[in-house]
Amino acid sequence: MRRLFITGLLVTLGTLPGSTLRQLSLDDMIRQSTMIVHGTVQPANIMYHGSMIFSHYTVQPTEIYKSPVAGQSASQSSSGPIDFGVPGGSLNGIIQRVAGAPILTVGQDYVLFLWTSKSGLTQVIGLSQGLLSVITTAGAAPMVVRPAAAQGPLAATGLPVTTNDISMSLSALKTEISNVLSGQSTQ
């Protein structure tokens, strides 16, 4: 009996927090994001929001999997660029840096889980947690992976420093998003 109880507690502890970050499951991100977008990013401008500097980017959607617009269906394509901010940047001689802020590669194909605050500022959910790279390999289905370290110099082996704690086909991700949003997820 005690063992069962402990097991129950441990399941709860599986989501114990970081002092800063709390791990979001894929389903958490699907539910708590206000928009899920597939597209490439371009830098926009840098501006203050309150006392914080945010570096803004735009993502040009190739697909929208979750929309904040009522009645707009998932996988609806075509939209104008969507603006979002990444905390930190340099503006008017002031430099602000935030550990864990998403590091974006211009032109890279991403699936972005975005979240819009009450003030209207849109960010990647969970700092970098909602940033998934879309990897396309010739002859294979596109994959989405959560990129790991920003790339420093390559190792002597030529291998990048990377880990992928989310790795699935793009189509599987779309299915999961659809299932979660329709309440059919089994996760």
């Binding site: 402990i6 502890l13 599986g14 800063t20 709390r22 959910i125 880990t163």
Partner: protein, 678 residues
């Protein structure tokens, strides 16, 4: 990115003929003054204390407070916990740094032009994030007593504005362990400390052993002490230096850890050329090991969310390896995964132990990483890095979760073994939890010779090693428990609180490591005056207004808390349940002069109505770093004399008078509300 420091550095660097240090225990925010190397002279971001009065960095709290509080919580309680978290860093005796509460400020307006720390409550914190801290620098280099630095001009700590919707916490209660540890962690960032991997408060949660009772680990203490050393500190500790190489090159951002059975872990990261120097190491003998940074986990943007050092052009210098096999130093080039044959590296006061070199082999990935341990209190409250009572007849289960312990079917990875480093404690009966719970467990037993304090676990695989410092802690007493809180008065009519319970050690010295109990009221300590015949603690609570209700928590210096047994703490209401805040006359202040003139040392006279100022407990702040409070003299319970030096003309700032948990905040010349400290 434009880097003005490039030009300024060229001017300044010639004057920096002697760099104070080229490494440390712990890890800071780093710049190198070159783009081509050598990369062995890091310049760090820090507050320039020599420009501040009494080495004090002021901190300010947004006057709005959180928009939504957890049930039963209060802004005053949050202020109390924030002040307590700041005091954790101020109380490090080997550091000259002080953090001084400067009162409330209006978020969105600058809290002054002088350096300081602001705490804001933000609606811009997305799900998946609890809090974060931002450094603000100009990129200009400064040259202070400790050499070249990048001065921090302001740090900002952002906490959630809605404390009922904090990611998966739900209610984020001010008295809780996570709230307090988060505050201490974020204050550490604000001072210039980055994440580490040695289970201190600056570890990410995946390996943190920090608790409310013992928030700082040896690594945290070494880090802040090396960054802001007290006079003479560096002459009381030693240093270790060496290289981590993989033929023929040095490895950048490899972690080197000095560990002993009696001294918890202290660590540093290598420079881009593989060199390292770990200062702030207490004298003694250490097993020194090198291990790779783990891969970025769960959406971290870099391994361990380290902000990479930059070269003089602002280019980040990251890792140049995937992983390598962790190894202990053996005194020669080989290295070992067997701690029993590792070299016991001596560290002497004021001396450098050099040549502690590692030659490592590349691996595709690290076998085990990111492990955290848990145990359970007698009331089944889960506790990270749990206390294990020495001398118990049977073992205590310790659960662990992390990468590389189990396969996809919840089967323990072949060859995995777990052992305890260097103590009379054992770990046995390794087993998995039933699927799908991704945990393992071992039985840990410590005998009476194990020695109190943090103990370290080794996770050995067939071809790799993972070391978890402070995986558990050996104690000799059970956790404190509060069973009743009773208001009373002493013979002089002063308010006291009788605390009934178990596991209290007021001034206890009978154990190897003396245990002392602290009683907290919303984070602020009461004064233990003695014990009654039946063993209750007699405690003078910190001042607060009548009708104020504070949570009461007991902490023991062995790291244990009454929250281990009673996650929902008892409360104490000042004046009893009938004393509601609405029934109490609001305090107010009359302040003369109302306007402070720049550059003029001024005596501010503060006359209170319905106040109870207490010498040594009354703090005055003006909500801006531009007004330095030099001295506060309590003339009577209703009269203060405050010596200030304004740096700029301040016509509109407010004044904040804090006594214990009582907070009075009002604009100068424009009286407003609040609490009546009695």
């Amino acid at each position: 990115m434009k880097r003005p420091w490039l030009v300024r550095l060229a001017v300044l660097v010639f004057g920096c003929l002697v760099m104070s240090a080229n490494g440390w225990g712990y890890y800071f925010y780093v710049l190198y003054n070159t783009s081509t190397g050598p990369f062995n002279q890091p310049i760090v971001e820090k507050f320039e204390l020599s420009s501040l009065v009494n080495n004090t960095v002021p901190f300010f709290i947004s006057d709005t407070g959180p928009a939504v509080l957890a049930p039963g919580d209060s802004f005053q309680a949050i202020i109390g916990e924030i002040r307590a978290a700041a005091a954790v860093w101020s109380n490090v005796s080997t550091s000259k740094l002080n953090l001084g509460y400067g009162g409330l400020f209006t978020a969105g307006t600058a809290s002054g032009s002088s350096p300081g720390i602001e705490i804001e409550f933000s609606d811009e914190i997305p799900p998946g994030l609890v809090a974060y801290t931002v450094h603000e620098v100009t990129g200009n280099l400064g040259y202070g007593p400790d050499g070249l630095i990048v001065p921090i001009i302001r740090s900002r700590i952002y906490l959630p504005n809605d404390l009922t919707q904090v990611s998966s916490y739900g209610d984020f209660l001010s008295y809780s362990e996570p709230f307090f540890v988060t505050l201490v962690h974020e204050f550490g960032h604000s001072l210039g400390l980055q994440h580490t991997l040695t289970s201190g408060v600056m570890s990410t949660i995946y390996t943190s052993a920090a608790s409310k009772a013992t928030p700082l680990g040896a690594d945290d203490i070494a880090g802040v002490s090396v960054l802001y050393p007290a006079d003479g500190y560096l002459a009381t500790v030693g240093s270790i230096s060496g290289h981590v190489t993989r033929d023929p090159n040095g490895l950048s951002l490899a972690s080197v850890v000095a560990l002993s059975a009696t001294n918890p872990a202290i660590s540093t990261l290598t420079n881009p050329d593989g060199s390292y120097r770990m200062d702030g190491v207490p004298p003694g003998h250490y097993y020194v090991y090198a291990h790779p940074l783990p891969p970025a986990e769960y959406g971290e943007s870099t391994p361990n969310n380290i902000i990479y050092p930059t070269d003089v052009n602002g280019n980040p210098i990251g890792l140049n390896y995937n992983a390598f096999a962790t190894q202990f130093f053996t005194g020669n080039y080989g290295g070992t995964r067997d701690v029993t044959v590792a070299y016991s590296t001596p560290v002497f006061v004021g001396q450098l132990t050099s040549g502690v070199d590692f030659h490592v082999s590349e691996r595709a990935s690290q076998a085990v990483y990111g492990v955290r341990t848990y145990g359970f209190s007698p009331t089944n409250v889960p506790v990270a890095s749990p206390p294990i009572i020495a001398g118990l007849p049977g073992p205590s289960p310790v659960a662990a979760t992390g990468e590389g312990l189990l396969d996809a079917n919840n089967v323990i990875i072949p060859g995995l073994s777990i052992s305890v480093i260097g103590t009379a404690a054992t770990a046995s009966n390794l087993r998995p939890y039933p699927p799908p719970t991704p945990y393992i467990a071992v039985d840990v037993q410590a005998n009476l010779t194990a020695g109190e304090g943090p103990k370290h676990l080794l996770f050995a695989t067939l071809d790799d090693l993972y070391v978890l410092p402070a995986a558990f802690s050996v104690v000799v007493n059970a956790a404190p428990s509060i069973t009743a809180v009773t208001p009373s008065l002493d013979v002089n009519g002063n308010r006291i609180v009788l605390i009934a319970g178990t596991g209290f050690f007021p001034g206890e010295t009978s154990t190897t490591v003396p245990v002392n109990t602290t009683i907290l009221f919303d984070g602020q300590p009461g004064v233990i005056q003695g014990t009654t015949k039946n063993g209750q603690l007699v405690v003078a609570p910190p001042p607060a207004q009548l009708g104020y209700t504070a949570t009461v928590v007991a902490l023991n210096s062995d790291g244990q808390s009454s929250l281990f047994l009673n996650p929902t703490p008892p409360t104490f209401t000042y004046g009893g349940a009938s004393a509601t805040p609405a029934a109490v006359a609001a305090p107010s202040l009359t302040v003369t002069p109302e306007t402070l003139v720049a550059g003029n040392a001024t005596t501010v006279d503060v006359v209170g109505t319905n106040t109870n100022f207490v010498a040594g407990q009354t703090i005055v702040g003006f909500g801006t770093s531009d007004v330095v409070v030099n001295q506060v003299t309590v003339l009577s319970p209703n009269h203060l004399s405050v010596q200030v030096t304004p740096n700029v003309t301040v016509a509109t700032s407010g004044i904040n008078v804090t006594t214990g948990l009582g907070v009075i905040s009002q604009a100068l010349g424009n009286q407003i509300t609040t609490a009546n400290p009695k």
